[in-house]
């Protein structure tokens, strides 16, 4: 019970601790092919996912691109199904939850702030973490990535030696994942063993979103069926998500631990936090299911060898 109280307190505290990060609009999207050798016994099949970094005037947001595309496709499929359904009852199946990697990374280099947006059960959390500091060594190598003039740098971060290419013409000190701190956007990165690779996959100017909101222009998201919620985001806006619960890395760590140790209690509290709106049966299923996951014997972040 004590633990539960503590959690409440923590969650409440972060609600009032309003963030200072001004909304920013993406100007450029840098695409990456993320390749991660999760299982060293199966080198032929590393994990891959298309990722994108939204670069604004003073911030960067790193998302799954596959997820955005999947959401977009689902919206289209829904619209088609709705249009062809005479009685307004739409039958649609959605496989998977969108993209593979749900965590989004936000870097505010000017203020030296770093956040991740995590999804746990049915809530989004806006988690503040320490801004990673990497002691980069800049080399004289230059190359052109998709027409961008880039320079090479190397640095050590979380147990791996990274070689990265950054673009001084995009003077935001951001990069994919947690990599940052060079005088330009990091457009390509890989570790020395090629086990973690953020491979440059293109750059494009961020364009305004064209697609219609899924429930119509004036629909309130709260009135939509759960399957349609959370689709009408504009990834070009780099800002703390309105619905996310602000917390710290430490508190979020506790929450994750609590989920693992006492899923029932956590589910209760989360349900309470959502005004009892979450579907109880679904929640139970989510909570009781064993946490699935691929074999990861080679995480991105390795312990530092002493």
């Amino acid at each position: 019970m004590k633990k539960q109280l503590l959690l409440y307190a923590a969650l409440l505290a972060v609600f009032f601790n309003a963030g200072a990060q001004k909304p920013d609009t993406a100007r450029v999207m840098v695409h990456y092919k993320f390749i991660h050798l999760r299982d060293t016994t199966d080198r032929a099949h590393p994990y891959t996912e298309n990722m994108v970094l939204f670069v604004g005037k003073n911030a960067g947001a790193y998302w799954t691109y596959d997820g955005i595309v999947a959401d977009e496709q689902f919206k289209k499929a829904w619209a088609r199904a709705a249009a062809s359904s005479p009685d307004g009852n739409v039958m649609i199946n959605r496989r998977g939850g969108g993209g593979g990697l749900s965590t989004q990374y936000y870097q505010y280099p000017n203020e030296q702030k770093f956040f991740t947006k995590e999804n746990l059960l049915f809530n989004d959390y806006w988690v503040e973490g320490p801004m990673p500091v990497i002691d980069w060594k800049i080399s004289g190598d230059t190359a052109s990535f998709g027409g961008l003039h880039c320079q090479k740098a190397t640095g050590h971060f979380k147990g791996r030696d990274y070689t990265v290419w950054f673009c001084p013409d995009l003077p935001v000190h951001a990069g994919p994942w947690k990599l940052n701190g060079l005088p330009g956007v990091i457009v390509d990165a890989h570790d020395k063993k090629n086990e973690v690779v953020f491979k440059f996959d293109g750059v494009e100017k961020a364009a305004a979103r064209k697609s219609q909101p899924v429930g119509g222009v004036n629909a309130d998201e709260k009135n939509l069926p759960p399957i349609l919620r959370g689709l009408d985001y504009d990834p070009n806006l780099i800002q703390p998500p309105a619905s996310a619960i602000k917390t710290t890395e430490k508190e979020f760590g506790k929450l994750k631990l609590a989920l693992r140790k006492n899923p029932e209690a956590l589910a209760q509290s989360v349900r309470a936090g959502n005004n009892g709106q979450a579907d109880a049966a679904k929640m139970d299923k989510a909570v009781n299911a064993p946490l699935p996951g691929p074999i990861i014997n080679n995480p991105i972040e390795l312990p530092e060898k002493k």
């Binding site: 000017n110 500091v133 800049i138 052109s144 001084p168 003077p171 000190h173 005088p183 750059v203 494009e204």
Partner: protein
């Protein structure tokens, strides 16, 4: 904030001793917070340190230790403002920036997902091979041809921005010296990840950053997977009419062991010696200060057709080529390069030569059937150790060449047979030791020794030109023998004092050349008795040339200005004698041959280069023999006995431009050569013999050459475009038939090339060359002009991954004033089918399927016009099986 502090702590511990402060404001004077401030090296344009302005727009930039302020620039970037750059004057004054607004700064960024095709690092450019390669490219040479900024001559010489490369390394190792066509034409392109261009390549580690080198080297970066195992691309082909083409090779590119070994043979016109060309022979001869005497005899002045060699060559060649390199543990490298070539070459041609003389025109015609059987053995052993403080290189070479040539000839209605036997045996050893002493000075000992001999015998029968050779009596055979056996050695010791700005080198040494020229022209009478021919046809010249020299050289290996000045002074004594002509001469001369080379880096990637040299050159034993030698059936040649001395001055300069990241290259170069000589060769030409003799007549020759080249890769069209232009003009004097003839000859050459990867399935390439030569004598009003247009185009179509088609054509167009135009068109086609299961390719090709069997051309040099025509092999159908080891 803790992070920033940490950053500062990290910096402080890394030896940043100086700081630069400043502010960033907009045009209204308002601070621009968080702008990126980068410290750049103003020559390489690379960032070396950086920081961000704080929220009041001021910044503190930490400058790494040991950097001079004047080589630095500060650049400020902020989104929404124009980028500003200021050169740094010193560390004390604050550097303040005012940025102007540029709201649409990022508009120009467009969707692109291309991986970089080219990486640069200082002097090194790296091309990604897979971007430029297409499925029908077999060897890396096929890909190198398409790289923007790189061109490949017809003989295989590779040029980067119009400058020939010095070497082609494989994984950093020098396996082949300047015989790099072996690698270009055998390494599969799939095994190479990158082609790197290394500018200012100084391969000797001891001398790096101390002695200027403007050499350009190429390095092939072998893929990791390809390094591990034995590789081979085998092909066996057979076809009509009676054709074969076999190539079996085995290659290995480990770090410790590298090898290219192959056995090949064909009779489809591919000359196996084409791969064995030494591309930098002139440089080598200049370095050792000695050139082997050229062959003196030949079976006729055959003009080789100006076609690709495989269009006209009748051959039956075979080659075994072994190149092996081992890196031993103690940084010692052993290398063996050896080859054996055997060939039977056939050539049928007819030729009409016209020599225009004042008031007279000499014409003669020739019809020849030639057969040449070369058998060539070359072996070279190299021991090398290239360390930071120590360099050792020893090269031992042996060459044995036997060439038998047979020629049936009809000239102005008389028929003769010629047999030429030419047997060369050469050996040489070059030793080079460089060592850095404790005092940081560098000492070098260098020694070269060689022996050469080339007995030649030309037999002409029956009874050719009896009027001249046998007092109008019929006779059986004319036999000309020549041999110039000789020793040569050159040795020096040098001492170098490097310092921060300049490297001084002092060198002293000596060279000795000792040669004997023995020749005789014998007439074999009809009764088989043999005796000497007409007067003055014997030679026995003893020749020694001794040289003592000292040289001071200064190298400025700076980053912006590189320069090299060498001031050699030599005392040379030349003695030569032929007792039967009462010739006994001795000549002592003091020579000063200064040379200056400079390279000025105008920008990060652009430079100017300048050179000046003054050189004294002395004739060789081949310019002093007093008795006549029958060089070929219609040329008798002798000298006056006086030694030719030449003073050669050269001035040159050029500009080299590259923007590597957009793959744009251009260069322009000009060179003027002025040669003054105390002798002139004079000729008397008649319808059946040409007599040459050297006369003491001071004369000078001037030659201008200007060349420009441009190359660009168009990303949107996936096409490499390149073009070049060359103009050359010569002013010289000749004495022919006792008349002094000044001549102006000028040649212009234009090249145009486009190579495109239209899509994954379709490739297209087009190449055009226009060469125009004109020649005129101020004494005569008329000018002679000959031109040739060559166009080549090919289309590759690969509809499926197991099916490839290729169609190509070559068009030659020759024009000359007052003569009908000549046109030749060749067309080739091939289809290749891959049996994926068997990992084997089957290829059916038809070369010259329009079956063109003769070739005619015009050649113009000074006042000689030659119209020649020769027989071509015609259509060749070949079926080939190709597989990999």
């Amino acid at each position: 904030m803790a992070a920033v502090t940490l950053l500062l702590v990290v910096w402080a511990t890394r030896g940043y001793t100086q700081t630069v402060k400043g502010t960033v404001k907009d045009t209204a004077g308002k601070a621009i917070p968080y702008a990126t401030v980068s410290l750049k090296n103003s020559t390489s344009n690379a960032i070396i340190a950086y920081t961000a302005a704080d929220n009041s727009g001021s910044f503190v930039l930490h400058v790494p230790a040991n950097t001079a302020a004047n080589s630095l620039a500060i650049e400020v970037h902020s989104i929404g403002y124009k980028t500003a750059l200021k050169n740094m004057m010193g560390f004390d004054a604050p550097v303040d920036f005012t940025l102007t607004e540029a709201p649409n700064q990022l508009q120009e960024v467009v969707v692109k997902n291309s991986r970089p095709v080219l990486y640069t690092n200082g002097d090194t450019l790296s091309y990604t091979v897979s971007v430029f390669a297409s499925p029908q490219d077999r060897t890396i040479g096929d890909v190198i041809k398409k790289l923007p900024g790189i061109t490949v001559d017809a003989n295989g010489t590779i040029r980067y921005n119009n400058k020939p490369i010095s070497a082609l390394y494989i994984g950093g190792d020098n396996l082949l010296d300047d015989k790099y066509s072996i690698a270009a034409n055998s390494i599969p392109q799939g095994a190479v990840s990158q082609v790197q261009v290394i500018q200012n390549n100084q391969p000797i580690k001891v001398l790096q950053n101390k002695v200027l080198s403007d050499d350009i080297a190429l390095n092939l970066e072998i893929k990791k997977g390809a390094k591990l195992h034995l590789m081979g691309q085998e092909s066996i082909g057979a076809g009509l009419p009676g054709n074969y083409d076999v190539n079996l090779n085995a290659m290995m590119f480990k770090d410790s062991y590298k090898a290219i070994n192959y056995l090949a043979g064909n009779n489809i016109g591919y000359d196996v010696q084409q791969d064995l060309v030494s591309h930098n022979l002139t440089d080598y001869n200049q370095r050792i200060d000695h050139a082997l005497p050229a062959s003196l005899l030949s079976v006729g002045a055959v003009n080789t057709p100006q076609l690709a060699e495989n269009r006209y060559l009748f051959n039956q060649s075979g080659v075994l080529n072994l190149n092996n390199l081992i890196n031993l543990k103690n940084k010692l490298q052993l290398r063996v390069n050896a080859y054996y070539v055997h060939d039977k070459q056939r050539q049928d041609y007819s030729q009409q030569t016209t020599v225009f003389l004042p008031g007279d025109t000499v014409k003669y015609s020739e019809v020849q059937h030639n057969r040449s059987i070369p058998s060539i053995l070359h072996a070279q052993f190299v021991l090398n150790s290239n360390r930071d403080k120590y360099y050792l290189n020893d090269v031992l070479q042996v060459d044995k060449k036997n060439i038998s040539s047979y020629s049936g000839l009809i000239t102005d209605s008389s028929a003769v047979g010629q047999v030429l036997k030419d047997n060369t045996l050469n050996f040489s050893n070059e030793f080079n030791l460089i060592q850095t002493l404790k005092s940081n000075r560098i000492v070098q000992a260098w020694s070269y020794i060689s022996h050469s001999a080339e007995p030649e015998q030309l037999a002409i029968s029956p009874g050719y030109n009896a009027a001249l050779f046998n007092n109008n009596e019929p006779y059986a055979q004319l036999i000309q023998n020549v041999n110039i056996p000789g020793w040569y050695t050159n040795n020096y010791f040098s001492f170098r004092i490097p310092s921060n700005f300049i490297t001084q080198s002092y060198k002293t040494g000596f060279s000795v050349q000792s040669q004997t020229l023995v020749s005789g022209l014998n007439v074999v009478q009809n009764n088989n008795r043999s005796g000497p021919g007409p007067d003055s046809v014997l030679n026995h010249v003893d020749w020694t040339k001794k040289k003592l020299y000292a040289e001071a050289a200064y190298d400025l290996p700076g980053k912006i200005l590189k320069a090299n000045l060498s001031l050699p002074l030599g005392l040379q004594q030349t003695d030569y004698a032929d007792n039967s002509y009462a010739l006994n001469k001795s000549l002592i001369r003091l020579y000063f041959n200064p040379q200056l080379k400079a390279k000025y880096q105008v920008g990060a990637e652009h430079y100017l280069n300048l050179m000046y040299s003054y050189r004294n050159e002395m004739g060789t034993i081949e310019n002093v023999y007093p008795g006549y030698i029958l060089a070929n059936y219609r040329t008798l040649y002798a000298n006056s006995g006086a030694l030719t001395q030449q003073q050669i001055q050269q001035v040159g300069g050029g500009f080299n431009y590259r923007r590597a990241l957009v793959l744009f290259f251009w260069s322009i170069n000009a060179l003027y050569t002025h040669t003054r000589a105390n002798n002139i060769s004079s000729g008397i030409i008649t319808n059946n013999i040409q007599k040459g003799i050297v006369l003491p007549y001071a004369n000078s020759t001037g030659s201008w050459s200007v060349s420009g080249s441009i190359s660009k890769y168009a990303f949107a069209l996936r096409t490499t475009f390149s073009a070049s232009i060359q103009w050359q003009s010569n002013h010289s004097v000749q004495i022919q038939n006792n008349a002094l003839l000044p001549f102006n000859t000028s040649t212009e050459t234009y090249h145009l090339n486009a190579d495109t990867k239209l899509s994954k399935a379709v490739n297209f390439s087009y190449k055009a060359t226009l060469t125009q030569t004109s020649s005129r004598s101020p004494a005569e009003a008329a000018a002679y002009r000959v031109g040739q247009w060559v166009q080549q185009a090919s289309v590759n179509y690969d509809p499926l991954n197991y099916l490839q088609f290729k169609l190509s054509g070559e068009h030659y167009f020759t024009y000359q004033q007052g003569s009908p135009n000549l046109k030749v068109f060749f067309a080739d086609a091939s289809v290749k089918c891959r049996a994926i299961k068997w990992k084997t390719d089957f290829e059916l090709s038809a070369v010259n399927f329009l079956n063109v069997k003769t070739y005619s051309a015009l050649y113009l040099s000074a006042n000689t016009l030659t119209a020649s025509s020769c027989t071509l092999p015609g259509r060749i159908i070949l079926f080939k099986v190709l597989f990999n080891l």
